[in-house]
C-alpha cells in the first residue's frame, strides 16, 4: 500500500464521530423523488421535444424508407466521405442504397483500423458518420451509444455531421431505467458508454451559444417509428 493511500485512509477512518453524525443525519432525510415515467405517445413527444430543444434534427421515418431519406440528406448536405460500420445491418443497407443511388458521389469509409493510423483521414477528410443507437431517454432527449470495435468512440465525435439511426422501440423513460435495463450494476459496464443530447456546443464566449465547439456541428436523428400507436 502506498503511504499516501495509507495516510489518507487512516485519517478518514480515524474520524469516527463525523461518520456516525452523518449516518443519523441521512436517516432523517426523507424524499419522494422518483425518475419520471411517461405513457405512449407522451414518451416520444417528450423525447422529440427535448432533443430538438438541444438543436438536434429529427427525421421521422420507417424501416423501409430510411435508406432513401439518408441519401436525400447526403445530397442536400453534399456529404462525400462517409464513415460507417460495414458489419452492422444498417451499415449494409446504407451500402446497398449508395450503390443503387447512382447520382450521389458518396464514398463509404469503414473505421476498421486503429485510430493511430487513421487520424489524418478521420480529422481532416471525413464529412459525416452514421451510427446505430443503443437506446433513447425520453426525459432528457438523449441518445445512448455504446461504442465498440465496430462503431468506435470517435465516430460520434470527430466528423462534423453525425447521423444516428434510432428505433422508437428502444426508447426508455429515464437514465435510471437505462441503468436497470442494461444491468450494468451486476454485469459491469462496457469500455465506454455515452449519453448524447444534441450536437457539440459551447456558451463560453459571453453566454452566446455556438454549435460545433469540438465535436459534430450537426446531429441528425433518423427515427424509425416502429411502435404502433
Amino acid at each position: 500500500m502506498s503511504s499516501a493511500k495509507a495516510n489518507i485512509l487512516n485519517r478518514l477512518r480515524s474520524a469516527t464521530t463525523p461518520s456516525s453524525t452523518t449516518k443519523s443525519d441521512t436517516q432523517s432525510i426523507s424524499t419522494s423523488w422518483k425518475p419520471p415515467g411517461y405513457d405512449q405517445p407522451e414518451r416520444f413527444a417528450r423525447f422529440k421535444e427535448a432533443l430538438q430543444a438541444s438543436h438536434a434534427e429529427i427525421i421521422e421515418t420507417s424501416e423501409d424508407e430510411w435508406p432513401k431519406q439518408l441519401m436525400e440528406i447526403a445530397a442536400s448536405k453534399c456529404i462525400a466521405q462517409w464513415l460507417y460500420n460495414p458489419s452492422s445491418e444498417s451499415g449494409l443497407r446504407l451500402e446497398q442504397q449508395v450503390v443503387a443511388t447512382t447520382q450521389c458521389n458518396i464514398q463509404l469509409i469503414p473505421y476498421d483500423q486503429p485510430v493511430e493510423s487513421f487520424k489524418t483521414e478521420l480529422f481532416n477528410q471525413i464529412d459525416a458518420s452514421f451510427t446505430d443507437v443503443e437506446a433513447g431517454i425520453a426525459e432528457t432527449g438523449t441518445l445512448v451509444l455504446l461504442p465498440d470495435q465496430d462503431e468506435p468512440r470517435l465516430m460520434s465525435l470527430v466528423p462534423p455531421i453525425h447521423i444516428a439511426l434510432f428505433r422508437e422501440s428502444t426508447l426508455l423513460n429515464s437514465f435510471s431505467e437505462l441503468i436497470a435495463q442494461q444491468q450494468w450494476s451486476t454485469q459491469g459496464m462496457p469500455t465506454n458508454a455515452l449519453l448524447i443530447s444534441g450536437p457539440s456546443k459551447t456558451a463560453d464566449i459571453q453566454q452566446t451559444l455556438a454549435y460545433g465547439a469540438h465535436g459534430p456541428k450537426e446531429l441528425i436523428v433518423l427515427v424509425i417509428r416502429d411502435i404502433q400507436t
Partner: protein, 477 residues
C-alpha cells in the same frame, strides 16, 4: 503569501467593464437555472435526495474509495493516491515522462487548477494545453478561471476578439462568436490529434463499477479521454459515489443547477482502457485521487459538509458579492461561497481567512445549493475560527490567526455590558442622552454613509413607557 482579498475586491468594483460582464453572466445563469426548476416541490425532493446520497457516501468514504480502487484496477484503470498538490503533479509528470510525452491536452478540471498542474508540467518542458473553450481563452490570456463552470465569464466577446487577434497568428479581429469558436476548434483539433496524453477531471467516480463519469457540452472532454494514447483523470476524493443508481439524480441536479440544462450534451462513462479489437480509446487510463486537505475537512462534523459539493457553481451565480466583484478578486482557485468555505480549509485561515468576510450572510447560496450544503453556516463557522482564541482544538489550519486584539477587546466589552442589566441600562441611557456628542467619522463606515446617531430614547425605554401608558389606560376604564 497572504491573499489580498479586500484590495482586490475594491479594484474589481472600480472596473465597470468587469462589472458589466459579470452582471450579464449572472443574470443569464440565474434565469437558466430558474427555468430548469419550475416545479419547486420536485426540486425540494430532488435536493433532499442529493443531500442524502452525498451524505451516505461520506459516511462510507474510506470503504468506497477502496472499492473504487479495486474495481478500477479490475477494469485496467491504474489508481494513484496523492496527499498534496506536489504529489499529484509528480505522479502525473512521471506517467507522462515515462512515455516521453511532449504535449498534454486537458479537459476542464478544477482539481488540476487546484494542484497547479499546467505550471508544474510547463516548468518541466511539457506543453499542457487547455481545450475547453473558456479555459483555452483564459490560458491564452495568461489568466486563471474566474468561474468554475464558465472560466472566461469575465471577458466580453470584444475582449476575446482582441485577445485572439493579438495572440494567434493569422487571425484578424472578429467579434462574431461562431468565427471565434471556429478558430479555437481548428487549432485545438490539430492538438487533439497530436497529443500524447489527455488529462481530465471527474464528475462522479462510481465505486461499484469502477467508472469515471464526465459531464460536458463541447466534446473536448471526450477528445482528451479518447484520442491520446494515455488518459489521466484527476479528482478529489469526495467525488466518489457508491452506485450507478446514485448518478441520475446527481447528474440532473448538477446540470440544471449549473447551466439550466436538463442534461449536458455529453455524459461520458469510462470504465476501461481500449480493449483488444477496439480501434480507439486510450491504451492506458490512470486515476489520481487527491486529498489536499479533504481528509482534514472530514474530521469536523460541520465542515465535513463541504465535501458534499458537486461543483455546479450555483452558489457563486446567486451570490451578491461574487456577482459584483467576480471570481478573480478572491485570488483563489475556487471563488464565491464554495471557495470561501473550501479555500481557507485547504490553504489555512491565516492565508485565506480574509475572504470569509466577503459575505453578507444573505443565505442565497445555501438556498440554491443542490445538495443542501449550509454554506452561510460554514462561512460563519470559519469566521469564528479565524478570530477564535487559539486553544489547540480547531482543526482548520491558521485558526485564531486573524484575531485582532482591538476587535476582541470590543467584543469582550460588549459581552460584559450585555451580561449586566444595570450596566447596560446605564450605558444606553448615557448614549441616548449624549447622542449629539456621538462621533461623525467612524472609519470605513462613514466613507460612503452618514454616521448613525443614537435615538433620543432606547427601545427599552420606549417599551416600558408604552407598558405604563397601557396600564393607566386599563385603570381608567
Amino acid at each position: 503569501m497572504n491573499n489580498h482579498f479586500r484590495e482586490q475586491a475594491i479594484d474589481a468594483l472600480a472596473d465597470p467593464q468587469l462589472r458589466d460582464n459579470f452582471r450579464g453572466a449572472m443574470d443569464f445563469l440565474r434565469a437558466k437555472r430558474q427555468s430548469a426548476f419550475t416545479d419547486t416541490e420536485a426540486l425540494k425532493q430532488l435536493r433532499a435526495l442529493g443531500h442524502k446520497i452525498k451524505a451516505n457516501t461520506l459516511a462510507r468514504l474510506p470503504d468506497l474509495l477502496e472499492q473504487l480502487e479495486q474495481n478500477c484496477l479490475q477494469n485496467g484503470i491504474q489508481v494513484h493516491w496523492a496527499e498534496t498538490p506536489e504529489q499529484a503533479c509528480e505522479v502525473i509528470h512521471n506517467i507522462i515522462s515515462a512515455q516521453n510525452g511532449q504535449l498534454a491536452v486537458k479537459g476542464k478540471s478544477m482539481v488540476s487548477e487546484e494542484v497547479g498542474l499546467n505550471h508544474y508540467l510547463e516548468k518541466r518542458g511539457i506543453e499542457s494545453l487547455e481545450s475547453d473553450m473558456g479555459e483555452y481563452i483564459v490560458q491564452l490570456a495568461n489568466e486563471t478561471p474566474s468561474h468554475i463552470i464558465m472560466p472566461a465569464i469575465h471577458k466580453s466577446k470584444e475582449q476575446i476578439a482582441h485577445l485572439f487577434e493579438d495572440k494567434i497568428e493569422g487571425v484578424d479581429y472578429t467579434d462574431n462568436v461562431d468565427e471565434l469558436i471556429g478558430t479555437g476548434r481548428q487549432i485545438l483539433r490539430e492538438k487533439f490529434s497530436q497529443a500524447d496524453v489527455g488529462i481530465s477531471g471527474v464528475n462522479f467516480a462510481v465505486a461499484e463499477t469502477g467508472t469515471l463519469c464526465l459531464v460536458e457540452n463541447e466534446g473536448n472532454g471526450r477528445m482528451c479521454t479518447t484520442v491520446p494514447s494515455t488518459h489521466i483523470a484527476i479528482t478529489g476524493i469526495e467525488k466518489v459515489v457508491a452506485t450507478l443508481d446514485d448518478i441520475p439524480p446527481l447528474l440532473s441536479l448538477l446540470t440544471r443547477s449549473a447551466t439550466g440544462q436538463n442534461i449536458s450534451t455529453y455524459f461520458n462513462m469510462i470504465s476501461s482502457p481500449r480493449k483488444t479489437g477496439e480501434k480507439d480509446g486510450p491504451q492506458s487510463v490512470h486515476l489520481v485521487l487527491l486529498d489536499n486537505g479533504r481528509s482534514r475537512m472530514y474530521q469536523d462534523e460541520n465542515l465535513q459538509q463541504t465535501l458534499r459539493c458537486i461543483r455546479c457553481g450555483a452558489c457563486m451565480n446567486h451570490c451578491p458579492v461574487y456577482s459584483r466583484i467576480g471570481g478573480h478578486a478572491y485570488g483563489t482557485v475556487y471563488p464565491g461561497p464554495i471557495g470561501q468555505v473550501v479555500m481557507p480549509q485547504i490553504d489555512g485561515l491565516d492565508k485565506q481567512g480574509e475572504m470569509t468576510e466577503g459575505c453578507s450572510l444573505n443565505g442565497a447560496c445555501g438556498e440554491v445549493c443542490p445538495v443542501e450544503i449550509p454554506l452561510p453556516n460554514l462561512i460563519r463557522k470559519l469566521r469564528e475560527q479565524k478570530s477564535a482564541k487559539p486553544d489547540g482544538h480547531a482543526l482548520t489550519p491558521g485558526a485564531g490567526s486573524q484575531r485582532k486584539p482591538k476587535e476582541a477587546f470590543a467584543w469582550s466589552l460588549w459581552q460584559t455590558l450585555y451580561g449586566q442589566p444595570w450596566l447596560y441600562r446605564f450605558v444606553t441611557k448615557m448614549a441616548t442622552r449624549l447622542r449629539h456628542a456621538s462621533p461623525r467619522a467612524i472609519g470605513g463606515w462613514t466613507r460612503y454613509r452618514t454616521a448613525p446617531k443614537p435615538a433620543p430614547k432606547s427601545l427599552h425605554e420606549l417599551m416600558s413607557q408604552r407598558a405604563e401608558a397601557n396600564q393607566t389606560d386599563g385603570a381608567s376604564k
